[in-house]
C-alpha cells in the first residue's frame, strides 16, 4: 500500500490503477498544445534565421546585423525603452506615493483617472500627439509658430524624445498600480517603528518605504521595459515616416517592403533574433540593477497608515497631478475627437470646417465594419480558448505536478517575454503551409493562432494564482465524501476558480480588442483588425477618417471596460 503524502498527484496515482488516468491525459494534452502553439513558432524563427533549405546559412543573419539601418534601429529601441522605463518608473512611484501616503484630496477619483492610460491604446495617443506636435504640420505647433513668429516648429514630437514622452504617459501606470497596492498592503508599523527610532519623515521614505516597495517598483519597471522594447504602435506612428526606426518597426518595414516574400520573412526572422537578444539583455540588466527580493510586508493588525501632511505643498502638488491627468488623458482624447469632425486634415479647427461625413464614411465602409467584426471574433475566441487552456495548464502545473512541470511553466510563460512582432513572424513561418501543410496566411485564423500564443500566459497566471488559494484539503474533503477525482474537480475546484477564469478572459479580450503589434504583420486584404484598420487609414493619409474610427474604438473600449468593472465588482472573489 502506498502512503498518501498529501499531493493530489499521489491521490491520482492511487486512482490510476483502476482506470485510465485522467491526469495523464490532461498532462499530455497540455504538452501537445503548447508544442504546437508556442514551441514550433519560436523554433521556426531560430531555424529560419540561421538555416536555409536545411543548410546552415549565416549570411542573412550577418547581413542584417551589418546593415546600418538595423543597428541604428537597435540603438533607438534601447534608448527609447531605457528612457521610458526610467522616466515612467519615477513618475509612477511619485504619483503612487502621493496618492498612497499623502493627504492630497480626491484620492479615489484621481486613482481611477490614473488608471485610464492603462486601458487606452498607446498608438491612438501617438496619433493625437502627432496631430498636435508633428514637426511639420502639428496644429499646436502651427499655432505657437504664428503666435511667437517663429521660423521653425517649436516642438517636434517625431523624435526619440517624443516617442519616449508618449510611451511614458501610457506606461507609467504599470509602476503606479503595483506600487500603490504595495503601499496599501504594507504594515504601517514598519514605518512607525522607524519614526520611533528617530528617523524624520524624509528619512523614513528613503530608508524604509522605498526599499520595502522596491520589489513592486522593480516588477512594474520590468513591465515597462519589456513592453516598450516590443512596442510597435508609438514608434511606427511617430518615427516611421521620419526614418526613426526601432527593431519592431524595422521588422515590419522589411516584411512590408518585400511584399511578403520568403526572403523578406527570413530577414524578419533574423531581426527577430536580434530583438529577442536585446530583450534578454535588458532583462538581465534590469535584474542586476533591481534584484527583486520579495518581502513579507503584509502583517499585523490593519491600521490606517499615518498620512503625511503636505501643508504648503498640497495645492501645487494637486495642481500638478490634475495637469498631468489633463495632459495625458484628456488632451489627446479631445484632439482625436476634434480631428474626427474635420472635413480635411490641415484645415483650421473652426466650426465651419466641421462635418459628420467622416463617421458616415466609416460606417458605410465594409472594410471598417469588417475590421470591428474581425477584432471581436479574434479577441472573444482567443479569450475563451485561452481561458480554458490556461486553466488546464495551470491545473497541471499546480496540482498534478508531473515530471517536466517546470518546462511546461516556462513554455507557457515564454510568449510573455517574446515581442508580439517576433511571435507574428514565427506564426507566419509555422502556419503558411511550410510545416503542417496548412496555410492559414491571409485568413483570420492566423491572427487567432498568434493571439493564443501571445495571451495564453495571461490566463494561466490568473488561474494559477487562484488554484494556489484552493487548498488541497478542499478537494480531499470531496474525495472523502465519495466523489471521484473528476467529480471533485468539476464540483469543487472549478467553481472555486471560476471568478479567476472570467477575469482571465477579460485580461485577454480587452488588450486583444485594441491590439496592433501582432496583427499588423498577419492581416490579409479581408482580415484587418480594428487597430490595423485605424493604422492603415492614417497611413493612407485619411487622418480625419482614422480619427473617426479611433473615436469609435475608444467608445467601444470605454463601454467594455465599464461592463467589466461592473461585473467584477458584483462578483464575489474566491
Amino acid at each position: 500500500m502506498k502512503r498518501y503524502d498529501g499531493t493530489s498527484a499521489e491521490l491520482a496515482a492511487v486512482d490510476g490503477r483502476k482506470r485510465l488516468n485522467m491526469d495523464k491525459v490532461m498532462t499530455a494534452v497540455c504538452f501537445v498544445l503548447l508544442l504546437i502553439i508556442v514551441v514550433i513558432p519560436i523554433v521556426m524563427i531560430i531555424y529560419n534565421a540561421f538555416f536555409n533549405e536545411g543548410r546552415l546559412e549565416l549570411g542573412t543573419f550577418v547581413d542584417q546585423i551589418k546593415e546600418e539601418k538595423n543597428l541604428s534601429a537597435m540603438w533607438n529601441t534601447l534608448k527609447i525603452a531605457i528612457g521610458a522605463t526610467i522616466l515612467g518608473t519615477i513618475m509612477g512611484v511619485f504619483y503612487a506615493w502621493l496618492l498612497g501616503r499623502s493627504d492630497i484630496p480626491a484620492k479615489g477619483l484621481m486613482r481611477a483617472l490614473f488608471n485610464i492610460p492603462y486601458m487606452f491604446p498607446p498608438f491612438l495617443g501617438a496619433m493625437a500627439w502627432d496631430m498636435m506636435f508633428n514637426g511639420r504640420s502639428g496644429y499646436i505647433n502651427k499655432f505657437l509658430r504664428t503666435l511667437f513668429g517663429l521660423k521653425t516648429m517649436p516642438i517636434n514630437i517625431n523624435s526619440v524624445w517624443g516617442i519616449i514622452f508618449v510611451e511614458v504617459s501610457y506606461y507609467f501606470p504599470f509602476v503606479f498600480m503595483q506600487v500603490v497596492s504595495a503601499l496599501e498592503r504594507m504594515d504601517p508599523t514598519l514605518e512607525e517603528s522607524a519614526r520611533i527610532a528617530g528617523a524624520k519623515q524624509r528619512q523614513v521614505i528613503w530608508k524604509i518605504t522605498l526599499p520595502l516597495v522596491k520589489p513592486a517598483i522593480s516588477a512594474g519597471a520590468l513591465l515597462i521595459l519589456t513592453t516598450s522594447l516590443a512596442h510597435f504602435g508609438v514608434p511606427a506612428i511617430l518615427g516611421y515616416a521620419r526614418g526613426i526606426y526601432t527593431l519592431p518597426t524595422r521588422i515590419y518595414a522589411v516584411i512590408y517592403n518585400s511584399g511578403g516574400s520568403f526572403d523578406g520573412i527570413r530577414q524578419g526572422a533574423a531581426l527577430s533574433v536580434m530583438l529577442v537578444v536585446v530583450v534578454s539583455l535588458a532583462l538581465i540588466l534590469q535584474n542586476r540593477i533591481l534584484s527583486a527580493g520579495s518581502y513579507d510586508i503584509i502583517k499585523g493588525k490593519s491600521m490606517r497608515p499615518t498620512l503625511i501632511k503636505l501643508r504648503g505643498a498640497k495645492v501645487p502638488l494637486l495642481i500638478l497631478a490634475i495637469l498631468t491627468l489633463v495632459l495625458i488623458v484628456i488632451v489627446p482624447l479631445v484632439m482625436i475627437v476634434l480631428i474626427s469632425f474635420l472635413k480635411a486634415y490641415g484645415l483650421p479647427l473652426s466650426f465651419e470646417n466641421f462635418t459628420l461625413d467622416q463617421y458616415r464614411t466609416v460606417f458605410a465602409s465594409n472594410g471598417t465594419i469588417d475590421s470591428i467584426k474581425n477584432s471581436l471574433f479574434a479577441s472573444i475566441t482567443a479569450g475563451v480558448v485561452c481561458m480554458f487552456l490556461g486553466t488546464l495548464v495551470a491545473y497541471v502545473v499546480q496540482k498534478i505536478r508531473p515530471k517536466g512541470k517546470g518546462a511546461l511553466e516556462v513554455i507557457s510563460m515564454l510568449p510573455y517575454a517574446i515581442p508580439g512582432t517576433v511571435l507574428s513572424i514565427g506564426v507566419i513561418l509555422a502556419w503558411s503551409g511550410r510545416i503542417f501543410g496548412i496555410n492559414l496566411y491571409n485568413t483570420i485564423w492566423i491572427i487567432l493562432v498568434a493571439y493564443l500564443a501571445r495571451y495564453l500566459s495571461f490566463s494561466m497566471k490568473t488561474s494559477s494564482a487562484a488554484l494556489l488559494q484552493v487548498h488541497s484539503s478542499l478537494e480531499e474533503a470531496a474525495r472523502v465524501c465519495g466523489a471521484s477525482h473528476t467529480e471533485s474537480l468539476a464540483d469543487i475546484t472549478l467553481p472555486l476558480i471560476r471568478p479567476a477564469m472570467v477575469s482571465g478572459f477579460f485580461l485577454i479580450f480587452l488588450p486583444a480588442m485594441r491590439e496592433v503589434t501582432t496583427s499588423i504583420l498577419l492581416y490579409g486584404p479581408y482580415t484587418r483588425t480594428l487597430g490595423v484598420q485605424i493604422y492603415s487609414l492614417r497611413d493612407a493619409g485619411m487622418i480625419p477618417q482614422a480619427a473617426a474610427l479611433a473615436t469609435v474604438a475608444i467608445g467601444i473600449i470605454i463601454v467594455l471596460n465599464t461592463i467589466v468593472t461592473k461585473l467584477t465588482k458584483d462578483r464575489k472573489g474566491v
Binding site: 512607525e192 517603528s193 520611533i196 524624520k200 527580493g293
Partner: protein, 370 residues
C-alpha cells in the same frame, strides 16, 4: 518618585462615515512614575491603543496635553505637537515591525545611524543590545530566516539600543505561543531592571498584565474605569465591568425590599446577606466563583439545588439555580454534590454594584464595529 508620563484631560475624537462621531478616548488623566511598569488593559475599542499612539506621537490629540519626562510633547491649548522621532521613546509593536530588507545588525543599528553616531560606538552598542537579547551571532541573518521569538528579540534590541527612558509595548507578546510568552515576559522585566526604563504595556490579556505590572489602568468604551495595583483591582473592583474583566466572576441580579435582597425571578427567598445602606432598588451582587461556600441544606444560607456539575482539572464547578438565574460556584473536588441535589449557598463578602445599564452594552457593541 517623579512622574515620567503625565496625561491631562486627554481626549481623542474620530469621525467615521458609517457610525458618526466616536469619542475614542474621553478625558484621560494619568500619571506614570519613573521606573514603573504600567499596563493599559481593556477589550478592543476601549481606547488603550489610541492612547498609546497619542503618547508615541502617531496620533494628535483633540483636547488635553501629554508630558513626557518633564517636557510637554502634545498640547491642544498651546497647539504643540512633537513628532514621534523627537520624543526619544522605545517601542515594540504587536507584529514586531522588524524591517525585512535589513539584517539583524542593520535593524538594531538603525536608530543609532539616524543619530549619526560614529561606527565604533554603533558596533559596541549594537553588540551590547544583541547580547542582552541573546541574539549574538545572528548579526548577518535576515529576519525572514528567524522565528517569531527571535524577531521579537530584534524589536526589543532595537528599542533598547538608544537607552530610552520610556518604553512603549503594544501587545508585544500576543503573536507568540504561550510558553514563549512567559519567557519573554521575564526577559522584558529583566531588561527593565537592567536599564531602568519606564514601561507602558498595552494588552487585552489580563493574566499577562497582572503578572508584569506595578499598576494597571482598566478602560472601557474610551473611559478610564479604574487605575490601581493588580491586587486592588482584583480584590476591590470599582464596578461590574472591572469585576467581570479581571478574573472569573459570577453575578446575581437582585431586588431590594425591606432591607433584604431578593434574587430576580425568585421573590420568596432572600439572599442571606447584609444589604449596604446606600443600595438602590435594583442591584447586582458580584463575587468570585471560588469565594462561595456550598453546604448541605441545613436551613442557613440560601437554599436551592445543583443545576449542573462540571468537572474541571483542579476543581469542580457547579451551576446553582438562584431564581431563574444561574450562579457559578467552584469548589475543591472533595466538596461533592450530584446533579439535582439540594444545597445551600453562602456568600463571602461579595461586591454590590448598581444594576446593568443596557445603554452601556449597546455603546460597547457600537464601538467594537469601528
Amino acid at each position: 518618585m517623579a512622574d515620567q508620563i503625565i496625561l491631562r484631560h486627554v481626549t481623542k475624537k474620530f469621525t467615521t462615515k458609517t457610525l458618526g462621531d466616536i469619542v475614542a478616548v474621553d478625558d484621560f488623566n494619568l500619571n506614570v512614575h519613573e521606573g514603573e511598569c504600567f499596563s493599559f488593559l481593556g477589550p478592543s475599542g476601549c481606547g488603550k491603543s489610541t492612547t498609546l499612539r497619542m503618547i508615541a506621537g502617531f496620533e494628535d490629540l483633540t483636547e488635553g496635553e501629554i508630558e513626557l519626562c518633564g517636557r510637554l510633547v502634545s498640547s491642544s491649548k498651546k497647539n504643540l505637537y512633537v513628532p514621534p522621532e523627537e520624543r526619544g521613546l522605545g517601542m515594540v509593536f504587536q507584529a514586531f515591525a522588524v524591517w525585512p530588507h535589513m539584517n539583524v545588525f542593520e535593524n538594531v543599528a538603525f536608530p543609532l545611524r539616524i543619530q549619526k553616531i560614529n561606527k565604533v560606538d554603533i558596533n559596541r552598542r549594537v553588540a551590547e543590545a544583541l547580547h542582552h537579547t541573546s541574539l549574538t551571532g545572528l548579526e548577518n541573518t535576515f529576519p525572514s530566516d528567524l522565528s517569531g521569538g527571535q524577531q521579537q528579540r530584534i524589536a526589543l534590541a532595537r528599542a533598547i539600543v538608544t537607552n530610552p527612558k520610556v518604553m512603549l509595548l503594544d501587545e508585544p507578546l500576543s503573536n507568540l505561543d504561550p510558553k514563549l510568552r512567559e519567557t519573554m515576559r521575564f526577559e522584558i522585566k529583566a531588561l527593565q531592571r537592567k536599564f531602568n526604563f519606564t514601561i507602558i504595556f498595552v494588552t487585552h490579556d489580563q493574566s499577562e498584565a497582572m503578572a508584569i505590572s506595578d499598576r494597571m489602568m482598566v478602560c472601557d468604551m474610551g473611559r478610564i474605569m479604574q487605575i490601581d495595583t493588580p491586587e486592588n483591582l482584583y480584590n476591590k473592583p470599582c464596578n461590574r465591568f472591572v469585576h467581570n474583566f479581571l478574573g472569573e466572576s459570577t453575578f446575581i441580579n437582585v431586588e431590594i425590599r425591606d432591607g433584604k435582597a431578593y434574587p430576580k425571578g425568585h421573590p420568596e427567598q432572600a439572599l442571606d446577606l447584609p444589604v449596604p445602606a446606600d443600595a438602590a432598588r435594583e442591584m447586582v451582587v458580584a463575587t468570585r466563583p471560588n469565594e462561595i461556600a456550598l453546604k448541605g441544606p441545613d436551613g442557613t444560607g440560601f437554599t436551592t439545588h445543583i443545576e449542573k456539575r462540571i468537572f474541571l482539572t483542579d476543581r469542580t464547578e457547579y451551576l446553582v439555580s438562584v431564581g431563574d438565574q444561574l450562579l457559578k460556584v467552584q469548589t475543591p473536588h472533595r466538596v461533592a454534590f450530584s446533579q439535582g441535589e439540594a444545597c445551600s449557598v453562602h456568600f463571602v463578602e461579595p461586591m454590590w454594584y448598581p444594576a446593568d445599564d443596557e445603554q452601556a452594552e449597546k455603546e460597547r457593541h457600537r464601538r467594537q464595529l469601528v
